[in-house]
Subunit: 433 residues, 2 copies
């Protein structure tokens, strides 16, 4: 049993349960939905990530003695609510987009079918994991699309919270990054790890020759030498002098990368080091990666911009009650009225409409009934939890494969980096039929 995740929750979820227990409505059958009202400004698609982590934490979402003791000592909820929480175990059903799936405004990323109290208490855990991981994966997918066949290395751990760093490495991997610098992500999620040396290593030594020679002796000729501590040209010459043409790589971490990559490639080739790779790592984002597309660069190391969602650190997902049983005992769609935060009531179903040659054309969302499949459509909601038991894969590898498949279906213009609208329209069944 891992540590309880039950207090990764907002205060109001528990006070709502207390009030609903009082009103006798706590056990009403309900449907909660997670969706984005819109994509971040200019983005053409989003990428769902965090689902697997949420499902794993759901298993540990139990109010144990310590958690109950804290809530009692603080007087956060009354005794009846504490008793209810002590017995809590999610027993409902959850459907959702497979982790790694692409999404659009209104896509029902998670559909939670449970009693009010069982579902409302999961709001924060659902949104924390999905908002963070989807923000990272959505940015990372644009970067790997811009990088094409060249591998991207996630190395942003130092620019985000130590726990986010592990989740960000996982989300970037789902979106096509090949490796991470983060060792805990390697251990916990099985992601390949990578890294060689920082400027401090070179500065530790009395000269660059000493630093490079020792790194080669210890890590082997396939290592990557950081060549911009002093003078790049001199460092590249020294690197090849010491390692020979078998040198694995050189890394550039500052300056004009486009200009430097050309010069360094020419220099390496002139020295016979045709196989030596050039790794660039300075403040890259998807636009910088795209700007280097014609440069002789072999690998991109991305830090701050991938772990902070490249300008959009939260995906803007919300978790809303969309349906509940009425006094009359029938399920009714419900929605908040306010204009700027409107939502669509009702239990959603979703298909990705595809052309006969498999290109995504529209997000078809049915309200309270499944839309008619036209033969080429792909079902988007898969069963994640069945009567409280997790029934879907939660590993990053499965999600990574799913993302590659789902992104490949998008129309070509979806991968453009310029500001644009969602790549395909979201169509509610009412409008469509």
């Amino acid at each position: 049993m891992n540590a309880s995740t039950a207090l990764l929750t907002d205060h109001y979820e528990l006070t709502m349960i207390q009030a609903a227990l009082e009103s006798g409505h706590a056990d009403r059958p309900c449907v909660f939905e997670t969706f984005a009202r819109r994509l971040p400004d200019g983005r053409r698609y989003g990428v769902v990530a965090g689902t697997g982590r949420f499902l794993e934490m759901l298993r540990d979402f139990r109010f144990g003695e310590e958690e109950i003791g804290f809530l009692r000592d603080r007087g956060i909820v009354d005794g009846r609510t504490l008793d209810w929480l002590a017995d809590y175990r999610f027993s409902g059903d959850i459907w959702g987009y497979a982790e790694g799936e692409v999404y659009f405004p209104g896509s029902p990323l998670l559909v939670v079918e449970s009693t009010f109290a069982e579902g409302v208490v999961l709001e924060t855990l659902v949104l924390s994991t999905l908002n963070h991981d989807s923000a990272v994966a959505s940015a990372a997918s644009r970067m790997t699309a811009a990088a094409g066949e060249r591998p991207c290395i996630e190395m942003g751990s130092r620019r985000t919270h130590e726990g986010s760093a592990v989740a960000a490495a996982r989300a970037a991997y789902i979106a096509g990054f090949g490796s991470t610098s983060n060792l805990e992500a390697g251990r916990r999620h099985g992601i390949p790890t990578a890294g060689t040396a920082a400027h401090s290593y070179t500065l530790l030594h009395d000269d660059e020759r000493d630093a490079f020679a020792n790194q080669l002796a210890s890590l082997g000729l396939s290592t990557t030498l950081l060549v911009d501590t002093y003078d790049v040209r001199a460092a590249v010459e020294l690197a090849v002098e010491l390692a020979g043409p078998a040198l694995g790589g050189v890394r550039l971490d500052s300056g004009d990368l486009v200009g430097q990559a050309q010069q360094v490639r020419a220099q390496l080739d002139a020295l016979g080091a045709h196989g030596t790779k050039i790794v660039v790592t300075s403040d890259l984002d998807e636009h910088a990666i795209a700007a280097l597309a014609a440069s002789p660069v072999d690998r991109y190391g991305v830090g701050t911009n991938v772990v902070t969602g490249s300008g959009h650190p939260a995906a803007g997902l919300v978790y809303k009650l969309v349906s509940r049983e009425s006094d009359a005992g029938v399920m009714e769609g419900v929605a908040k009225a306010s204009k700027d935060k409107a939502s669509v009531g009702g239990r959603k179903f979703a298909l990705r409409r595809r052309s006969a040659d498999g290109v995504a054309q529209a997000e078809i969302i049915g309200i309270d009934e499944r839309p008619q499949d036209d033969g080429d459509d792909r079902e988007l909601l898969v069963r994640l939890v069945e009567r409280g038991e997790v029934v879907a894969p939660t590993d990053a590898g499965t999600a990574r494969a799913h993302h590659a498949m789902a992104r490949a279906e998008l129309p070509r213009e979806a991968l453009r980096l310029s500001h644009g609208e969602a790549a395909i329209p979201t169509t509610y069944l009412d409008d469509w039929s």
Copy 2:
């Protein structure tokens, strides 16, 4: 003993240790420094946070059997390095700005004095905690400054990673927020928690009357009712009808807050509910808070923008080797040459120069020697770790008090929200003397 934090580390730190062990330089006395080259665009000061969390995690930074097993299985470093890591325990000294202190470009926020290998392996843990928490605290401090005497409630857990959420609540509290929605932050860091109900609670009930009546019955008249699910005017009238003038508060979460706050205040007063508070919570940032300064608002609930640093989710702090013993056995300042990422070599000392009436005037940084105190200066570097033992307080309350003191010293213009330069200049001793 808590879970090990040792793998919250980048791959390259361990390969650097391996190479330094090979070269015989692993034990060289070194000084590493954490600083920001610049403040985020337009900001006038930064706020140090995360120091206490770093110090607590430093205690658990040990490579146990599981961690060593992972590194061995993956072949990340060689056997000699694994043996060294298995024995690792930080045994050096760390100095730093007290948590909650304000800072400026070049301020030496952390000064780590240790061997190369002992210090280099802490880079990621230091930067993850300080970059994240300082980004949140720096944004939060602008918000509490704009809010003045009105309390700010941190409620952004749903918009950031579940672990970041807890740290963000702590950082916001340090910067003057009064409470958080996050229960784990309440338990772990002793922060007051707050919250009442979401729209889903109102929508659960067949009508708003039923929802409000039950909430009042369960949570008492001092509760805050969310009045914008359907029609604000009708909801406020209903709220006072049911609760009477003793109603604790009403919450507005959408629409034109400036206009609505005026109308709702007038309506409450007309109904005799003069003591009922107005809480606003829709997409607030420091600018929205400032825009509400003349509105009859009593409390601000801030979500996304505080936990994501209000546009700057990472503080831009770096961790650099600035001094090390040479072959000749003397400490020498070292620095990378590249123009866009220059650093200043040498062990730093720092004073806040103050006028006779206690207003901050300059950040005085001495290189390799302590600057002369002019009598009104305040020493900025305090001892955090002495020969491996944490000797400074790590709690949020102490940091919160420190921040209030340090911010109060700043010149008035430091608290302006408009784009500006750092509120006081950073002056290196060489220039000053």
